[in-house]
């Protein structure tokens, strides 16, 4: 049963992937401007038509759009994602390198935000209406209400400029040119981006966790647990948390998929050389192969997260049996 289910799931996922790729391809080509014209105009204030034509011929951009689409689709499945216009190297290589940097800030931020969101949200929901709950809820609403780019800028100004505790941007000190990259130096540069990403992400997890905990706290089986003589902490930990975690599975898997996407403006504001900043650069330069590659990776991870959530559910909730039609 599970094998057939998995097969069905893979087929529908494949269909979703094809549709996403098609939409991406079409949307990117609807963008005004093209790489070579913008590049030449930026440097020479003038784009000689024969140079533009020669460039388009080399990259196959002069062929009919449908032919380009078919070639792209076939190559994408063969693992040939093309060459970046900006970097002149295979798209996969560029993404691979930047992905590492993105993960350096997003992995700790996501893990911390998920754990903190679950912990604080569970406590807040369990102690509904208490001073702690009201305080936490209002604090979270406050953070959520601040425009995130402004929050990032304020963090930068306060901690890096006025307090001078952390560097203003980048990922290593210039001394790295002489001594090589020092992990501690990288960590020091990563603190503020991680803090910013943490604050963006923690409120969402907190809200969902608080809400599911509110519902769980009123369940009859919680009263049963209390009637057995269990103390409040045990009831919260053993009986409430596990049930309240069920809706979190989906959120957590998508947070993980989101890690790969990077965060465009956090990386841009902190000059962090990750996927987010890469996306921004590729967009600004109209680097179509690179943009396609980035979006392709995002699509793959979201689809994978979806399948993962489906497979994790039955492990957490005994009532869910994946693939059972009954």
């Amino acid at each position: 049963m599970n094998g057939i289910y998995l097969l069905k799931r893979l087929i529908t996922s494949f269909a979703a992937f094809c549709i996403a790729v098609t939409i991406m391809f079409a949307l990117l080509r609807l963008m005004p401007g093209d790489y070579i014209t913008m590049y030449l105009e930026a440097i020479y204030r003038y784009a000689p038509p024969d140079v533009v034509e020669a460039f388009n011929r080399v990259y196959g951009l002069d062929r009919p759009i449908l032919e380009q689409y078919v070639i792209y689709l076939l190559d994408a499945f063969r693992g040939n994602w093309g060459y970046s216009f900006i970097y002149k190297v295979p798209v996969i290589a560029v993404i691979g390198e930047k992905l590492v940097w993105t993960l350096i800030i997003l992995f700790p931020a996501t893990i911390l935000a998920t754990l903190a969101g679950i912990g604080i949200g569970a406590y807040s929901g369990w102690r509904r209406g208490s001073k702690a709950d009201v305080g936490l809820l209002n604090g979270m609403i406050f953070i959520r209400a601040i425009p995130s780019y402004w929050l990032a800028l304020m963090i930068l100004i306060i901690f890096a400029y006025y307090l001078n505790l952390f560097p203003l941007g980048g990922y290593v000190d210039t001394s790295a040119l002489a001594t090589g990259i020092d992990p501690l130096d990288v960590a020091n540069h990563a603190v503020l981006p991680i803090l910013t990403l943490f604050l963006f992400s923690v409120t969402g997890t907190y809200y969902l966790m608080r809400n599911t905990m509110l519902m769980t706290a009123g369940e009859d089986y919680i009263t049963t647990a209390r009637a057995k003589g269990l103390d409040e902490l045990t009831i919260l930990r053993k009986h409430a948390l596990k049930n309240a975690m069920l809706p979190m599975v989906t959120l957590i898997t998508f947070e993980c998929a989101g890690m790969i996407t990077g965060s465009i403006f956090v990386e841009t504001i902190f000059s962090w050389p990750g996927l987010g900043m890469l996306t921004y650069k590729a967009l600004a330069a109209r680097d179509l192969p690179l943009l396609q590659g980035i979006l392709l990776i995002d699509t793959l991870f979201v689809i994978a997260a979806n399948i993962a959530a489906d497979l994790i559910y039955p492990l957490v909730d005994p009532r869910v049996q994946v693939g059972d039609d009954a």
């Binding site: 089986y221 009263t223 647990a225 003589g229 596990k242 909730d317 005994p318 009532r319």
Partner: protein, 314 residues
């Protein structure tokens, strides 16, 4: 009644503050439960039966206003510190909650949930507690208890969940078992099975059997208390109360039974926020006289150990 009461409720008032006003779910209730007896607590939905059961174990929501005394073996449960109350719950007094369908945690096996109480109160090791859980499931009539102990609640039928909850409540051999509508929502055959279980199970504990089902109360109870609008309106031996009811409300309840003509009591139960003046049943009572809506009657002894709250006996 002979001997000292196991549980003694004195002047119990339970109120829920709501935006519309205070809901007086229980008003000056006096009640004793004696060792080994089964006290049937009957009344319509909303009469305060469940609230009374939950109040004994302090399981009501934190903002509930509770006054009076609930003395269990001489100790007032209402003034006990929370940590000590936790040692009473499950160990001294067990409760089978209403809604058996949702009272078991869906993510743990039934065996685990029963064993939890045994580990907590009797200090048994994991495997020993599992063994005890299997024995308990067997005792409440669950077929193939070894296998069923390892199953999750959604694999249990309604009747089996009820049995599993009874096993949980009895796991630590409490002195008092509170059973809140254990036959609610069950079909006739399953219901019969649960009632038989209550009458057959080996025990030296007392039972407070809360039900709106008069027949079940008659089958099981040695004494019966009738609640109306948060008050006890009649209490006494089961045979006296159900065989020769003194209060017009009890008579009305009995007359509404299918085999006795299915005569419903006219009107509906009053709101617990704005209670009628005088006797709370007077607006619906066929025997009401002018005085009934003015004076609030007290419990009057109408026979040996048989009391009724009615002007007829004043």
């Amino acid at each position: 009644m002979t001997g000292d009461a196991l549980l003694e409720i004195r002047g119990l008032k339970v109120g829920f503050p709501t935006p519309e006003g205070l809901v007086r779910a229980s008003d000056t209730v006096d009640l004793e439960i004696y060792p080994r007896e089964t006290l049937g607590l009957i009344g319509e939905t909303g009469s305060g039966k469940t609230v009374l059961g939950m109040a004994i174990l302090r399981l009501l929501q934190p903002n509930t206003i509770i006054e009076g005394e609930i003395r269990y073996r001489g100790r007032d449960l209402l003034s006990l510190p929370e940590a000590e109350m936790q040692r009473v719950r499950g160990r001294e007094i067990g409760i089978v909650l209403q809604n058996s369908g949702t009272s078991l945690n869906p993510v743990y096996t039934v065996g685990t949930q029963i064993a939890e109480a045994v580990i907590l109160h009797q200090g048994l090791s994991g495997p020993d507690a599992r063994q005890r859980a299997v024995e308990l499931l067997d005792a409440v009539g669950i077929p193939d208890p070894v296998r069923m102990a390892g199953e999750y609640p959604h694999r249990f039928s309604g009747g089996m969940r009820e049995r599993a909850l009874i096993a949980t409540a009895l796991a630590c051999r409490p002195n008092l078992l509170i059973a809140d509508e254990p036959t609610k929502g069950l079909d006739a055959v399953t219901k019969r099975g649960i009632v038989d279980l209550f009458s057959e199970i080996d025990r030296d504990h007392s039972v407070l059997f809360i039900t709106h089902d008069i027949e079940t109360a008659g089958d099981l109870a040695t004494r019966v208390a009738v609640m109306y609008a948060g008050e006890i309106v009649e209490i006494g031996g089961a045979e006296e109360v159900l065989g020769d009811p003194a209060h017009p409300y009890t008579r009305g309840l009995l007359a509404s039974l299918p085999e006795r003509g299915m005569q419903p009591i006219p009107g509906s139960a009053p709101s617990l926020i704005t209670l009628p003046s005088g006797c709370r049943f007077s607006p619906r009572c066929g025997c009401a006289v002018e005085n009934c809506s003015r004076e609030h009657p007290g419990l009057v002894e109408v026979g040996s150990g048989h009391y009724a709250r009615c002007m007829l006996y004043d």
